[in-house]
Structure formats: C-alpha cells, structure tokens
C-alpha cells in the first residue's frame, strides 16, 4: 500500500537501470527513446501510485464476490459491506480502543527500535558480546510468548506495562537480527576513514554504521512494525479490558463475527498506517537510494 513512496520511476522499468540478458527490450532502440512530456510523465506517475489502492480494492471486491457467489453465511464470513457498516456503527467505541492499542504499539515498538539497534551493533562488533548475549536472547525468542504470557502477567501485573513489554519481546528479535546483519555488511575498510578522523564510537555509529546499515535495518523495522500490531493484540488477549484485542476477544467469545471482522479491518488500517510511516521514514532517510542510476 505504502510502497508508492519509494517508486518514482516509471512502471515496467525495473530499478536496475540496465536489463537482464534474455529480456527483449523493445523500447531500447534510440528511436523509441524520445523523452516524454512533463504531463505524460505526471499521468504515468499517478497511475503508478494508484496501483496499490487498486490492488486493495480488487481484494475487497473479490471478498464480496466470494461471499455472494458461494452464498457464504454471515456467521462464517460476513461480506465487506456488513463489516464496513459495523465499523461505521461502532466507530466511537473502536476509536477509543484503537487509541489504547496504538499507544501500546508505539511504545513497545519504539522501545524495540531504541534497544534492538544498539544491541545489534554490540553483537555485530564484539564476538564476545555475541557469545554471551545471543544465547539468552534466542531463548527468549524461542519460548512461545502466548504460552508464557499469562504467567508473565501474574508476575508483572495487568497494566499497560505488561502489554508494552510483551510487544517489545515479540518485535525485538527480528529487528535485532536485521541490525546485526545490517551492521555486518559494512565494508570494514570504511572504518579507516572515521578512525583516522578520530571519531568517537558514537560518531562512527551515527555517521558511518547507521547509514550504511539502514537499508537492511529498515527491512527489520518493517518486519517488526507489522509484528507489533499482532503483538499488542496478543498481549491484550491475555488480559485487558481495553484495546482492540479485548474487543476482538469479546467478538469471538460471543460469536459476534461481524465485530471480529470490524476489529480486523481497523487493525489492518492501523498496520497500513504504520507501514506507511516506516516506508516514508526510509524514503526520507535514504536519499542516496533515490538518485537515479541509468
């Protein structure tokens, strides 16, 4: 959905700036290479950016069609119309609970970002740190969070803290691993540069390691961001009286399947928003990836 931010080139043209060997390239001949007019380019760009919303619309249409065609009963899968009108009907309630969930997501995910990236650096840099820190972190990742969440809540209480912490636990590892590998792809000779300028560790981190690792780190951030929404929901499943997870649970436990789907729609919407935000940050923070190549 959000990917249109990263794609200012024309459709059909891939970002390699050159072409794979066995591809016929009809527009290659000089004759076909007249630069297009500005309006034509603008139109193309608009059409291009409409693709993801159109895909989305197509999915919704397919859903509606399937429900109609196979006459799927509403208690198994309500049609999009019913679900959307439920969203509208319950909008104020959903809004309130969304705010709670969103807060948990943002806090938890924020905490993950500020802890996983530095820790990734530490583990990428020091084999010693890796030997010591990696095993317990992996253990933490391996234990199914949903299985231990209840115990967890008994120990730590039922407030927002526990939800945030669960979110952190579930989103931490993907970002950590991406950070480690992001920091490791650095051409270590580039460190010569900062070292001979007398850079502090922080400066090396800020001016060299982070920008060099950004493309990979962002893949981890995207993974974690999408997991974050699920994580907050799961945390709310195990004990809450607020938040979308709570509403979802209420929906399933009272067989109110429209409500369940309404929550899923809201959640998806939140997820798309977050993804949009992440893609925009990536776009804004990696200007060098935008510079055209061909």
């Amino acid at each position: 959905m959000a990917s249109n931010l990263t794609s200012n080139s024309a459709p059909g043209l891939d970002r390699r700036g050159n072409w794979e060997a066995p591809l016929p390239a009809p527009s290659f001949e000089a004759s076909g290479r007249r630069p297009r007019s500005k309006t034509a380019r603008t139109l193309r760009r608009i059409g291009w950016n409409l693709l993801p919303p159109l895909t989305f619309a197509a999915i919704v249409a397919l859903w509606a069609l399937a429900v109609k065609l196979f006459s799927i009963p509403a208690y198994l899968l309500p049609g999009p119309g019913a679900v959307f009108s439920r969203v509208v009907a319950d909008a104020p309630m959903l809004w309130d609970h969304s705010l709670v969930t969103l807060t948990e997501i943002l806090l938890g995910f924020g905490l993950t970002v500020v802890t996983a990236i530095p820790l990734g650096l530490l583990i990428a840099l020091s084999l010693f740190a890796k030997q010591i820190l990696y095993p317990p972190i992996m253990l933490l990742q391996l234990v199914p969070k949903i299985a231990v969440a209840p115990l967890f809540l008994v120990w730590l209480g039922f407030g927002m803290e526990s939800k945030v912490l669960l979110t952190v636990l579930m989103t931490f590892f993907p970002l950590l691993l991406a950070s480690i590998s992001g920091f490791q792809i650095l051409d270590t000779r580039l460190l010569y540069l900062t070292q001979s300028m007398g850079a502090t560790r922080w400066q090396t981190f800020r001016y060299l390691r982070v920008p060099a690792a950004l493309p990979v780190i962002f893949s981890g951030i995207k993974t974690s961001a999408t997991i974050a929404a699920t994580a907050a929901i799961v945390a709310e499943f195990v004990g809450a009286n607020k938040g979308l997870g709570y509403v979802l649970l209420r929906g399933t436990s009272t067989m109110d399947i429209e409500l369940t789907f309404a929550v899923l729609v809201v959640l998806t919407f939140i997820g798309i928003l977050i993804n949009y935000a992440v893609e925009f940050s990536e776009w804004a923070m990696t200007p060098w990836q935008r510079a055209n190549n061909s």
Binding site: A10, N18, W19, A21, L23, P24, A25, F28, E29, A30, R33, P35, R36, R41, R189, N292, S294
Partner: protein
Amino acid sequence: MSAVPQPQAPTGAGIAIRKVSKTFDEEGDHPFLALKEVTVDIAAGEFISVVGASGCGKSTLMLMVAGLLKRSHGDILVGGASVTRPITDVGIAFQDHLLLEFRTAFDNVMLHSDIRGLPRKQVEARAKELFEQLRLTHAMHKYPRQLSGGMRQRVSLIRTLVHDPSVLLMDEPFGALDALTRLQVRMDLETLWLRRRPTVLFITHSVEEAVGLSDRVLVMSPSPGEVVEELRVELPRPRPIVLGDAPEFSAYVDRIHRHFERMGVLHGLDAPERVAP
C-alpha cells in the same frame, strides 16, 4: 609464451558507433549530457585506444558498446548487428575491477566456465597459465579483500582474457599496476592481440600506452565527451616495449598532449620556475 607471433587475420567483429549520445537521468529533474554524438568506426581486428580527460565519458561509451548501458540517441553495431542487449563474445575489463567478493581470485576467473558452460578443464588450464604469467599463482585462492589493489586489477585482467574473446573492451586495465608489471602486461596484451587479432577498445590515461599499443587513438573532449581527433599510429608491429625516445613515437605523443593542453589550461603557470628548463 616464446616468440612474438606475426600479425594474423582478424578474428574479431567490427564496431560501428553512429552519432551516439548519452544523457543520464534523462526523465528526471537533473538530466546530464555525458556524451554527445560520438561517431567511430572500428574495423574488425583493430586495436583502438581512447584518451580524454577524467569524466569525459570514456567508460560510458565502453558500457554502451558492451550493451550494458542504454544509449539515449544514435546506434551502435557490433559485427553488423545493432546492439540491443549485452554482447557476450567479449572480454571486458571494468574500471572498478568488479570482482565478486564471495569468490576467490581463481573462482572469479572460473565464473566464465560456470556461466558460459565452457569446459572446466580447458578454462582452468588457461586460467592457471595466466595466473602464472601475471605472477599471481600464490594468490589464486585468496579472496578479493585479501589482495592488494594491483593484484585485484590483475585478477580482473585474467578474467577478461581467459576465454579468448573476439572483442576486448578494456577500461584502464593497467591503472593500478607498477611500472614494470605494466610493461610486462602491455607486452603480453600485444602478443595476444597479434596471435588472435580480436577487436580491442582500450581506454587509458597514459598517452604513451595509447600510442604504443594501438592502430588508432581517439582523443575526446572534456564533458560532454565528443571525439575531437582520430590519430592513426603507423608504427610497425610488434613494437618495442619501451619506445621511449623514438622520434616518431614522441611526435604522436606530443600531438596528443597538445590537444590536451588546448582543452584545459593549467593554472598556476604564472610562476616562471614551473616551466620546464
């Protein structure tokens, strides 16, 4: 390699470059004209050199001939056919060496066998011969980052030559070599060329090298690159390794140097001590 062979019938394909221009970022906000209406005809089996100021578009021209970069205008024909995709019966020495960091020096060369499906034994034998010739046998199984700059360039050279291509495109292939190795490799290249007569497009910053090696030298203007002179070098082959002070040779070199000087004025020349005695 023992006796220097006599010139053979050419095996390479001719290259025709017709009014070729290149604009980078053509559809973007900052289009940049790098090359302007370049026209050159290279005969089959000819050895042609290109010299010109840094950034004038030499590498760009070479990549377009190779079919690796799209041209903006004009046409390029290799062996009579318009280039619409990368040409493959070619050996290319890229300016940045382009070694695969995840393969050893030897395996970088053997990429040809993996991809072209050439018989492994044969390529291996030829590769080992070239590694020896370029004094790299001891470094054959090192990874690129364990090699020195010059060693990387030599590995790249071996990869360019190992499959005996009929067209050679070389972008400053000797730039990182020391004086002696440079002479050696230059001689080896001439020998190879005389044996097999591939068509060679050779980019260099050394005017001496250009004149010493080629049938013709193209001089390009600074950016946007245009061909401002084509100089035919009528020296007999095979040529001595150090042409040094041979007068015909110097005449060619001087002529090209004058072109350079005309194109870019050296600043700081106001101090009288700066002028050669």
